[in-house]
């Protein structure tokens, strides 16, 4: 009989303690961020999709070696380049040299897993992470990023 009443008593007491906890929380300020109206700044190391980096002349740093393409586990990077001949003065003499110029750098973001292998594998520091995270769309094509175009848009 004593156990019966003590159980009821302690049960009610535990319920009152629980109510006390939520009552205290009721008067505390809201902790959420009203998202579309306010956004949080992404941290420095935030890893969004990749982005090309330009050199001083505003051209992409990329030398189209294809390391990122090979390192990518999901095969979502495709790039193309063409050889361009250019003349350079070496010891007072004009010499013709060839260099590769990036013509296409596409990222298929639908299969990208944001692992960052491409950024790490790049020996020229030509690829970095963007801070974009508002990437919702109902069309698949919106996630095929033309990074060269994005770079030009950024520069202009």
């Amino acid at each position: 009989m004593g156990a019966y009443f003590s159980e009821i008593f302690y049960g009610l007491k535990s319920l009152a303690i629980g109510l006390g906890v939520t009552f205290k929380e009721f008067f505390k300020p809201v902790v959420t961020v009203p998202y579309p109206y306010k956004t949080i700044k992404m941290t420095e190391r935030y890893r969004g999709h990749i982005e090309l980096i330009e050199n001083e002349e505003g051209e992409p740093k990329c030398v189209s070696c294809g390391m990122c393409q090979r390192a990518c586990p999901s095969g979502c990077i495709s790039l193309a380049s063409k050889s361009v001949e250019y003349e350079v003065e070496v010891k007072g003499e004009m010499k013709t040299k060839k260099k590769k110029v990036l013509t296409k750098y596409d990222l298929n973001f639908t299969t990208c897993s944001l692992c960052g292998q491409c950024v790490e594998s790049c020996n020229f520091g030509a690829v970095t992470f963007s801070k974009d995270y508002n990437l919702a769309s109902s069309r698949k094509e919106d996630f095929h990023f033309d990074l060269l175009k994005r770079l030009k848009e950024r520069n202009s």
Partner: protein, 328 residues
Amino acid sequence: MSLTILNAVIAVVAAIAFAAINAAYLVWAERRGAGRIQRRPGPNVNGPFGLLQPPCDGIKLMAKQLMIPGGADKALFMVAPVLAMAPAIMSFVTIPFSDTIVAHSMNIGVLMIFAFASMGAMAILLAGWGSRSKYAVMASVRAVSQNISYEIPMLITVITIVMMTGTMNLAEMVASQTGGIWHWNIVPSLSSPLMPVSFLLFFICALAETNRAPFDLGEAESELVAGFHTEYGSMGFGLFFMGEYANIVIGASLITILFLGGWGCPLGLYPGVWWFLLKIYLLIFSFIWIRWTFPRTTIYGLLNLSWKILIPISLFNLLLTAGLLKVF
């Protein structure tokens, strides 16, 4: 004669309007309250403080297609939501909001409310049975066994009050408690020293009777998906929802009338409808508060609580009060 009919129409319309507005804005209050408890704002986009959210929800629900699952019993499926809402509105007819605001004062008001409250179980049973879903059937069976076991302690407590006040008319019950907090039924008196206990008991029963958490076994979403209204969409679901909130208002009103002195002021000053509303909304807030604090009980835990704790205590209280009333 025509005046009586006009009166009746006004009363019914007022009751429906009161129930509907309450249901709509209690959903808003519940969501805002839950938000505050969980430290988030709750609905705040539509209108100031999200006050336009209930009409938006209403329009959305009404605009949706009424789906009837294949193989369901159409008649029962359609009747059940109406049956959930109608008795709740009927019960408003006899609730006295103040000494003048009452649609129809009946000398068996308490009985009528309980009679209609029992219809709620029927609605849940029909909804579960008619929608041909295993989850819904299980939920409705649970809800019915819950309602049956909780009506007993509830009624025994009411009998105690009826013995003390000597009437079954709700307005007269309130009248017998006028004149300050010390006259209220919740305060222990010589003839019924266990009144706070029976208030607590009635409160628990009211929670269980309205299928509120922690007794919301009929719609246990983590086990039975959505319980008895699993298959309901659009306004069918809307009616269940409104019925639930209308029942909550009735439960709170009953507690106020039976225990908290109805429209009377705690200090005996300026009695009026505002006191009544203040009391029921405080009670409703505590319902919301409880819902967002506790986990759900089990079906056997619930039945154990009813048969092993609530019924013995309420019976003891009844006998004690009966004996002491004879003595004093």
